[in-house]
Symmetry: D2
Amino acid sequence: MESEKKLSDEQALIVRTVRKLLAKYDSRYWRKLDRDSGYPSELFKQIQSLGLASIPITNEYGGPGLGAREASLVLEEINASGGNAQHFHGQYYLLFLISKCASQELKEKYLPAIAKGSLSLQSLGLTEPEAGSESTKIKTFARKDGGNYIISGHKIFISRVLQSDLMLLVTRTTPYDKVEKKTEGLTLFLVDLKQAAGSIEVQNIRTAINSQTFELFINDLKVPASNVIGEVGSGFKYLLNVLNPERILIAAECIGDARWFIERSISYAKKRVVFNRPIGSNQGIQFPIASVYSKLLAAEGVTWRAATMYDESSQLEVQEKTEEQSSAKQIGKYANIAKYLASECSTEAGSVAMDVHGGYGMSEEMDIERKFMENRLYRVAPVSQNLVLSYIAHSVLDLPRSY
Amino acid sequence: MESEKKLSDEQALIVRTVRKLLAKYDSRYWRKLDRDSGYPSELFKQIQSLGLASIPITNEYGGPGLGAREASLVLEEINASGGNAQHFHGQYYLLFLISKCASQELKEKYLPAIAKGSLSLQSLGLTEPEAGSESTKIKTFARKDGGNYIISGHKIFISRVLQSDLMLLVTRTTPYDKVEKKTEGLTLFLVDLKQAAGSIEVQNIRTAINSQTFELFINDLKVPASNVIGEVGSGFKYLLNVLNPERILIAAECIGDARWFIERSISYAKKRVVFNRPIGSNQGIQFPIASVYSKLLAAEGVTWRAATMYDESSQLEVQEKTEEQSSAKQIGKYANIAKYLASECSTEAGSVAMDVHGGYGMSEEMDIERKFMENRLYRVAPVSQNLVLSYIAHSVLDLPRSY
Amino acid sequence: MESEKKLSDEQALIVRTVRKLLAKYDSRYWRKLDRDSGYPSELFKQIQSLGLASIPITNEYGGPGLGAREASLVLEEINASGGNAQHFHGQYYLLFLISKCASQELKEKYLPAIAKGSLSLQSLGLTEPEAGSESTKIKTFARKDGGNYIISGHKIFISRVLQSDLMLLVTRTTPYDKVEKKTEGLTLFLVDLKQAAGSIEVQNIRTAINSQTFELFINDLKVPASNVIGEVGSGFKYLLNVLNPERILIAAECIGDARWFIERSISYAKKRVVFNRPIGSNQGIQFPIASVYSKLLAAEGVTWRAATMYDESSQLEVQEKTEEQSSAKQIGKYANIAKYLASECSTEAGSVAMDVHGGYGMSEEMDIERKFMENRLYRVAPVSQNLVLSYIAHSVLDLPRSY
Amino acid sequence: MESEKKLSDEQALIVRTVRKLLAKYDSRYWRKLDRDSGYPSELFKQIQSLGLASIPITNEYGGPGLGAREASLVLEEINASGGNAQHFHGQYYLLFLISKCASQELKEKYLPAIAKGSLSLQSLGLTEPEAGSESTKIKTFARKDGGNYIISGHKIFISRVLQSDLMLLVTRTTPYDKVEKKTEGLTLFLVDLKQAAGSIEVQNIRTAINSQTFELFINDLKVPASNVIGEVGSGFKYLLNVLNPERILIAAECIGDARWFIERSISYAKKRVVFNRPIGSNQGIQFPIASVYSKLLAAEGVTWRAATMYDESSQLEVQEKTEEQSSAKQIGKYANIAKYLASECSTEAGSVAMDVHGGYGMSEEMDIERKFMENRLYRVAPVSQNLVLSYIAHSVLDLPRSY
């Protein structure tokens, strides 16, 4: 299934490169990882060596300096080939954040190594048991101690902690009940996980999918003050910079999943014969496929437009405040709607694929059930469809808040 | 609700012009027409006088020589303002057909008058009681008689017969059971309805909406052979030229309807207070609006892309056969998917608007019920959603035929 | 389509009687009424003369003393035959209220005449512009004046005012801001509309359907204190007695509509031939019919169970308080769920019927569009699906209030 | 969540007994089984020892002689408690078949041991790679050899082969292309799996759920002719006797699942606090729960009615042919519709539960994802929703066949 997007030569090259690479890391690779609850380290090394893991890093730090569109293409193609791009997306959105908000010192310290592939930055330490969708409620606390911060707290559903060299850790430096605005008093740290090993107890969370997600008990973790990103106490503002690219990348992964589900459904519907004809000649089989394919086309267009907006806005060097705000608002609108539509579409496509494959859909060797559950996560993480609808209702359509 | 499309200056001017015009022909105008089962002749005269009724006519015949995008914008804005563009779309898609397929003689005879607004071409005489979705089954027959054809037959659901000067009439010149391929033997005539008056008995069909649709009993209607469009017997091929622009224009009308439904829903949800708060603060009200708005954004993108493809393909003067075929296939794909998505979206938006308005949705003065029913027609005409899904399954996704 | 319910002999007789009667008042009758915005007075007289308009009136007042099941059957059959039972349901639920809550004096004054068919009680004067779903917010005020009350106020969407002899009028006798509990201070009056004529200005509200609904401007209407129902100020409590039977009857009307939509769809799908086969052999046509038929079966079961519960509870002469409360809670649960399911099912069936009939669905002579819109009203009146879901969530499932 | 069904004392006792038993075999038990891909042998022994595994066996063979209602209650309660009743349902529907169709000799040979719990009959050997939904296409062949049959063939998706003592094996004794009617020439065998061990190669099929399903390569398996069920060549007719009870039991399992999903969703929605209030106070959370709960109530009613019909029909000793046929038709109708509705309802409830639980829904310790996938199987096995819709369309609604 070819892309409906108009790609530049460079983008088309990225797509071809990723496809060629994934021909070697096909379903058997992912199925084995799934059984062993393993991380695709080998594939990630290949992606790093092709320079595709550091897309957002600018030339001065040794990266290609590309944007959300190119990152989207990599992730979409991984999912469209039957893989699971969730293992890799963290580095992209964290790099967008670092590139925009970190000090030059911090960038010089880490970005070249990430660009070279000798360091990885896949983990975002944000969610806590009592602060899921409501990030300002986190309690993990960082207190100043000379040139360092001492951090303690409890995090849950933190991905790729054991598979990443670096983590972006979100803390409070002023408690929730001591700030005027609840969005104040949050501070972001870039944490070297090897150095932190003794101060973080990591517990694996068993999930329906091979998600490499963990519960962290952080106890007096010492992090140098120079590893603070941006200004102390302004972390929430920076964090907003991760939200839009993350939604756009997730949308791209959903597009990839939907393509895979639809391709597999078509292929199976054409060859599976029941009552002397391919099941694909039944409207009960083909109409749901045709309908969700139409939605895919539409969601893909919105997702690509969101990525394009994000990239174009990033390239604006000097602009008036109002233009920037208006641009940010448009990006937020498109990023959220892209996530909503792409996730709805891929959930539907996954359900269609399960239905089309009958009993075979439950068999591990068909990969349908694995992808079906991997894709299901996108409905609720990093943001639930309900919260996206609230955002659209309130921020885009100007309806009153519902909560 | 502003358009999400990137418009050229000329297109933006068309939008502003139509909006300004429609400010004078607002809901009261349409409500009155609806009660009287009247045709918006006065408004059509204004559209003609602004040169907007002859968009597809090229400069040499006195028209602006614009395309599906510009025609779409006019129709979308009419529906988005609370009007009913169904009264006007026929002239656009028929002019696309005439421009592409009619002889120079025929074009010289009629197009300048249409461009000037002294003639209208709003009626397509295709459907018959036994040949709805299956056009090749029509029985209306045209037999050669010297320099004329004598036509007899029975047509149903023929729109705007009494409101148009000209009709494109579809006939058989070879009976269904005498042709090898069922698509052969069809012939198109441009019929002057004033001259034809004595030979056509016109019966009004009462419908749920103010649709100006009729049943025709054609009895020995004489039409000069020079009024045949293209070659005798090849009508089906030409007719295909009407299908894609028609789907694209219908999609644009659905987009306009969806915008109107959503705007009205938002506006009402913000001001209607129940249990001490605007009903728009209920997720049960705002989530359906936010969801269908997301789909609108997506459907609008696909529709605009379809119109753009159609226009760009029309501008190709010389091209290789394969490129042309590939382009035609892409247009067919996008035109059908646009129609499917836009119609689904506007049906959903209409239903949301009915639900949001409660009992007031049934009141004539709110216009909701009128627009709700007007929009419902797009699900089944000019082509049903089921037939579109069949087309997508078979022609786009290469699944086996279901019938 | 035969009923799935197990009927007593008496109930079966009612069904046969109504069917026989309606064979004479078929679609042409309803279509004509619709065009003329007329009330089915002639049919109502027949229903009265058969003793079927006074089902809830007990023997001592000259009625048959039957229950919600029998009333449901009458209304269901009217809708299932292509008619519109909305014109008649008011008298049933108002009689349930009167029978339970009115003084013996009032019952003696009116019930025998209603049983004889010389008086009709079809109108409930409740809704106001600022008090739709939130009944306690009404402002129509009744002030004591000797042996009378003088009533003034503004009502909207009041049905059958010109087609009824009596109206149940809901007023405040203590203003909203003077009561401790907002449900206090409401008082119900039985109003003789002929006597009231000079004090009520009645304006017709034009709606999408032939609904006989009006806006009332009540100005110093004098009503004798003896026409108060139950205790002054306790009207809300009595009003609750109308809500459950009303929901049950509405559910029965939806069941009737769904049966009609499904029967018509099956019949048309079997005889309409396109591409050389009946369209009913397409899964795209037959699966939606089969699916909604399944839901009809389920909704019918719940509706009948709700009616049975209501009737059985009414027959409990002496019972413990807790048992009564528990019974009332169960009835509320089933009545609301029946309304929700039956309305969802009939909306879906209506939409399927529109889709199946293609362009013919819009034609007045097929009755589909008329029934489609008549049925649409049940989604929002007398209570919206959203409010029913709130009730189920809060009162049945013990979830926290959402407003 | 209490049952909405009116239970006899004996049925209520069964419910209480199963609930008490399952309190000891709670989520931890099932979670551990799931990780180890184990069979709940210990629980099954308990069920056997309580006499609940042999419900359909009549008193003369040592069973309780109960029906589909009682079997339904056991399975529903297992699923409603968080377990997976798929491990146990085979014995019920196979016992209904054996009781109705096997020779007295065969019944005497096996039923007492099954009633005692010393033998189990959990496995139905029907499906083949080229014969999924189309059972008559099976190729496994049994050829007569003296007093035995020699059987060879290839079966797939055969459940509980290693967990059952006996299997009902479906074979052809006349090849597909040698019979006049494709339903002829099928023969059923009761196979002792211990004796058969050397002739059947059993391969585990890895699936998304702990389903104990296998692929079988049968090679010259010798089975005594006395183990044929009913007449040779008439197997298809007997097999139909398994289909209706199977659908009814599956529907009951879906009802149990839906109850569990809804209970868990309510419980979580009440205690999970985000933005300072329980998420259950959001309409975006509570409306989907209330809606699917309504559908549960309806589906439960239809399922119970189907089971009651089946039981009552089984008790008819002597009846006229037409009455039997009419009864069989009604049972088929209700069994299929019950399966369709209950499966739709539980799929929706599962999806709601996943959405309500956010990221926690993916965590193994919540059991949501396990139950979600276990329940998903019911959409396609033992019969897909599409085939059920075809059945309803054709056999119930008299629409033309779609294939």
